[in-house]
Structure formats: C-alpha cells, structure tokens
C-alpha cells in the first residue's frame, strides 16, 4: 500500500513536476509572465461565469441584427483555420512522404488539437444552451444545415486529432506496446483527417453563403468555401513556421539538439509551399471579385479595407515568401508567415464581423468582456501547449524503441 503510494508520488514527481517537489515546482513557475497569464485567466473565467449566470446579454454586445460576434468570428473561425497545420503537415509527411518535415508534425498536431479544443470551448460560451451541444450528433439531425455538417466534422476531427496525438502520450507514459498499436493507425487517421478538414474548413465559409444580403458584397462570394479551404492550408503552413520558430527558442531544452540549419531549411520549404498557395489564393480572390462584379465598391471605405487585406495580407506575404525562399532567408520567411497568419485572421473577421450586417444602423463592436474571453482562451491554449511540450516528447518526435531494445 505504502509502496503504491510512494510509486505514485515518484510518478507525479517525475512526470508532472519535472523532477521537483511541489514547493520547488511552485517556486519555479512563479514568474512575471505566469503571473500575468494567471491574472488574465482569472479575469476571463470570471467573465465566463458571469455569462452563464446572467445570460449572453450580460457580457456580450450581440444583438438581434448580429447574432454572431467575436466568439464565433475569432475563436471558432480563426481558431479552426489556424489549427489547420495538423492535417496539412500530417498529410505531407505520412501520405506524401516528405520525411524532412517530420520534426514539425507532432507540434502541428498538438497545435491543431488545442486549436480545435479551445475553439469548441469558445463555442460553448457562445451557444445559448451549450449543454445541448451533443444534440446534432446524437439526437436530431438537421442534415440540410451547413452547421450540422460543421458540427459533425469538428466532432470527428477533434477525435481524430486526439487519436493522432495518443502515440506521444503513450511514449510519455512509457506504454510502448499500445503506443505502437496507436501508431499503426496513423495513415488511416491522416487520410480521414484530410477528408474531414476539407469538408469543415470549407464549410465554415459555406456558413455565410446563406446570408448574401448581410455579408458585404466585396466579401460575399459563392466561392467562400473554396476561399476558406485554400486559406486554411496557408494558415496551417504559416502557423507551423511561426510556431516552430517560437518553440525552437522557448523550448530549446526539450528539443533534440538539432542544427539551426535544419529548421531553417524546413522553414524555407514550407515558405515555398505557402508562396505557391497564396499566389493561387490571390487570383482566386480576384475571381471572386469579378464574379460579384462590384468593382465600384472598391472606391468606398470598405473597398480600401478590402484592398489592404488583398494586397497587404495576401499578395505581399506571397511575394515575400517567394523572395525569401529563393534567397534562403528563413528570417524573412517567418515574417511572411506572421503576415499571412494575420491575413487569414483578418479575412475571417471581415466575413464574419467587419463586413457582416455592414448596412445596419447599430454595428456590432465586441465588448471588452468578449475580447477578454478570447484572450483568455488563447492564453489557456498557449499554457496547455507549454505544459504538454515540457513533459511529452512533442518536439523531439522520435519513433518508439522497437521491441528488441
């Protein structure tokens, strides 16, 4: 009995506290950054508690005209788009066999999983009756609804991402046999993940197809699902570039020592792919503009903002990616990636908030409380990422030792 207790204590000490006692651990995490994060999270959780005790009106600026705000526009749409690195990188490595990108697959899948997880948590805050979230899955099937399809795909894909991440968890726990079994599913899970991602990444755009009179004509297009899908791949690649650079700096001690050149080469390869996609995306957006035929709108204030997005956050990162990739300048690729990520966020917000119900009298502007909840969810995502990376073999994604070892 005491033996079990001792072993449990040792396990917690080794696996959870990184080899320290509770007191040492508490002292180690008492940094200014963590204090700030704790403050943000505490305030955000308070707001969330307030939302559930006082209704959506207590904390949000949602109105009868604009039923969707920041929690859908940012947490859901951007969260899911920026989590697209999971399926992008997994298919590059496991299906196309681009082995050199293997070192970034695990962090990409973890980012994907957390991105979706916190997008769903944001959705739970936004739903009027979040306890009914399983209804579309288990109770009533609104098969004609884009939302129904999105719900199913996100539910299934979150499961797939969880399963894709299990080998890492099993390695951490030291369960070699079940870990290998989990790995055998990799190819199937990856292919299924690509199917699901194609469907729901595009469907997040399709959601707005049903509101032609409400989305500003510059952003409304029958091609919205295509735009959302293509830009999700751009977002995924760019996020992997940005995040691997940050991780390399922040989690140096967790990564297998690897020459910086390896990461640079990998970054440039991803940048080249992103350049190609952004080039196509830019022309696709022009097609959307031509299809709508609303060239005159370009002369308005919305038109100026549209051009900022299209030229400054689509074309500019595209050319910067290309130039930097050709020059072998990994630093500039990272700048382009940050710009591209911003571009995808801005595009999602333009469709869902800036250009949504653009012609009603009372425009929606998110309340401070809504912003705080979004910031809280991002903070929690980063903290969870750090917690896991500090413990599990994410950055040094090595294969499990074979049975003979």
């Amino acid at each position: 009995m005491t033996d079990t207790l001792t072993r449990a204590r040792a396990w917690i000490r080794e696996k959870v506290l990184l080899g320290r006692s509770w007191r040492e651990y508490a002292r180690a995490i008492d940094t200014n950054g963590n204090r700030l994060a704790a403050l943000v999270v505490a305030a955000g959780l308070t707001v969330i508690a307030y939302r559930f005790s006082g209704g959506l009106a207590a904390v949000t600026n949602l109105s009868q005209d604009t039923p969707w705000g920041l929690w859908i526009g940012f947490d859901m749409l951007c969260g899911v788009a920026l989590a697209a690195g999971g399926y992008t990188l997994a298919s590059a490595v496991y299906i196309l066999g681009l082995e050199r990108y293997r070192p970034v697959v695990r962090p990409a899948i973890l980012t994907g999983f957390l991105g979706y997880l916190f997008a769903v948590i944001g959705l739970l805050c936004d739903l009027g009756q979040p306890w009914r979230i399983p209804y579309p899955i288990f109770y009533k099937y609104g098969v004609t609804s884009v939302m129904f399809e999105v719900g199913w795909c996100v539910f299934l894909y979150l499961t797939v991402l969880g399963l894709e991440f299990t080998p890492t968890v099993f390695e951490w726990l030291g369960w070699a046999r079940i870990g290998r079994r989990a790995k055998d599913m990799t190819l199937g899970l990856t292919a299924f993940g690509v199917v699901l991602s194609t469907l729901h990444q595009s469907s997040l755009g399709s959601l707005f197809l049903s509101a032609p009179g409400k989305v500003h004509p510059l952003w409304y297009s029958p091609f919205l699902p295509v735009f959302f899908f293509v830009s999700s791949v751009v977002a995924g690649l760019s996020m992997v570039i940005v995040e691997s650079a940050l991780s390399h700096r922040a989690f140096q001690h967790r990564a297998r020592p690897r020459p910086a050149a390896e990461l640079d080469e990998l970054t440039i390869g991803l940048g080249r792919a992103a350049a190609l996609l952004l080039f196509a995306f830019f022309f696709l957006r022009l097609q959307g503009l031509a299809e709508g035929g609303r060239w005159a709108e370009l002369a308005t204030g919305y038109g100026a903002w549209y051009l900022v997005e299209l030229l400054g956050l689509v074309l500019a990162p595209c050319l910067l990616f290309a130039r930097a990739a050709r020059a072998g300048d990994a630093g500039a690729v990272r700048v382009a990636a940050a710009l591209a990520v911003l571009g995808v966020v801005v595009q999602r917000l333009n469709v869902s908030i800036v250009g949504f119900q653009w012609n009603v009298a009372h425009r929606y502007v998110p309340s401070a409380a809504e912003v705080l909840v979004s910031v809280t969810l991002v903070t929690l995502g980063v903290l969870t990422f750090r917690w896991i990376v500090n413990r599990m073999p994410v950055l040094d994604g090595r294969p499990l030792p074979a049975a003979g070892h």
Binding site: H253, P257, I268, G293, G328
Partner: protein
C-alpha cells in the same frame, strides 16, 4: 445598390476568363522563380548556419554546458540541473553498462561521479556540477545504447539539485568556446598513433562506437581516462 441593376453576364464572364489567363501566364514565371532558387536557397542556409558545426561529427547544442571531462549540464530552473555524458564520451567508450550514484548522494564538480563500463573495464566520469542527486534516468540505465543515440535529450543521466549552480557554470564551456574545445579534442584524438580507419572521418562518416577500443585496442581504458580526465 439596386438589386435589379443590369450586370452584363458577358462582361463579367470575360473578366473572369481574363483573370484566369493572366494567372496562368504569370504562374509560369512565378513557378520558375520559386523553383529555380531551390539549390541556391539551400546553399544560402547552409552557408549561414553550417549544417554540421566545425567540430566535425560532434554537435554542440545550445543550452548545454560542457565539463572538459566530457560531461554536460543543463539548467532546468533555479538550482536544478540535468547532467549527462556528451556524445564524445559515449562514442569513446560505447558503454555496455552505467553505474550511477543513488539518489540522495552528493556529487562534486570535477570529481568522479559515475562509471561507464565496457569490456569488463570501468571508466569514471566527472560530475559537471556539485549537488545532490535527485533523480536517475532509469530508461537510460536500462538501455545505454539508446541513450548514446541522444546524449543531450533522452540520454540524460541524472537530475541534480545544485545549490551553487551559477558558480559551477563558470567552470563549464558552452557555445563557441565549447565548439573550439571539442574541435581541439577531436584533433588530439585524430593525432594519436593508430587512429586510422576509425577516424578517417573528414568525409562526414559518423564516428564508430567504441572509438577508444578502435584506436588503442586493449589499452583503451587508459586512453578513455586520458580524454575523460579521470
């Protein structure tokens, strides 16, 4: 904003086709530009950050501080360090077993702290920092050859509570200094008589395991101790 305004479908479609054709025309130079730089980009990256540090085959990772006796320490936090043996030490001895001090034991910087054993001989390695052993890497103990493949990651050996970590680190080498040091050590090994095939490594071949044995045959423990300063 009149929804019934006349929009010529001919004109709209024509513009769409023009954009598509312009895209295809521009795609060719864009692709050539992007793809043409592949080799140059790789060369540029490699020139900026050498794929292999000058030391040849031994990587000197950032964040790792080396003791001249080929052990290393990494700071985990206030007063906590992870220690291990460096790649050179693993390659030199290719240990079949390792004997680590039990947790709670004290180790002192520069004094023998644990043993690498092979061929029935044991070679001591020096502690890179002083402190109390708080944890042993049982996985590495079980499979030294796996630890040897990742000496700075999963091949760590002990965690040490080191009260004078800052002072201890002043005695250790890191960054460019460590690189120059390991380069010199490699040169010294290469210069030894009877270091033939095993060290014909300029071509980039990986060093063989058990270098010391390869170089000096039965006399290897002496060679190993010489390099490990024990």
């Amino acid at each position: 904003m009149d929804p019934h305004a006349f929009v010529s479908p001919v004109e709209a479609k024509a513009i769409e086709y023009l954009i598509a054709v312009a895209y295809l025309v521009l795609f060719v130079p864009f692709w050539r530009y992007l793809d043409g730089g592949t080799a140059r980009a790789r060369a540029a990256v490699r020139a900026r950050v050498p794929a292999r540090p000058p030391a040849g085959w031994f990587v000197v990772p950032d964040g790792i501080s080396f003791h001249p006796g080929h052990t290393w320490a990494r700071v985990d936090g206030e007063g906590l360090a992870t220690v291990g043996a460096d790649e050179f030490a693993f390659k030199l001895v290719a240990p079949e077993r390792m004997v680590l001090p039990p947790t709670g034991d004290e180790v002192r910087q520069g004094e023998p702290a644990w043993l690498f054993g092979a061929d029935g001989h044991d070679v001591a390695l020096l502690a890179p920092v002083s402190g109390t052993v708080t944890e042993l890497n049982t996985e590495a103990l079980r499979a030294p050859e796996a630890a040897a493949r990742d000496p700075y990651g999963r091949g760590w050996l002990m965690k040490v509570r080191a009260p004078r970590l800052a002072a201890d680190r002043k005695q250790l080498l890191d960054g460019p200094v460590a690189r120059r040091w390991i380069e010199a050590v490699t040169e010294a090994l290469r210069a030894r008589a009877g270091a033939p095939a095993a060290l014909a490594l300029e071509d980039g071949g990986a060093p063989v395991d058990g270098l010391a044995r390869a170089v000096d045959g039965p006399e290897w423990p002496a060679v190993a101790r010489e390099f490990l300063l024990s």
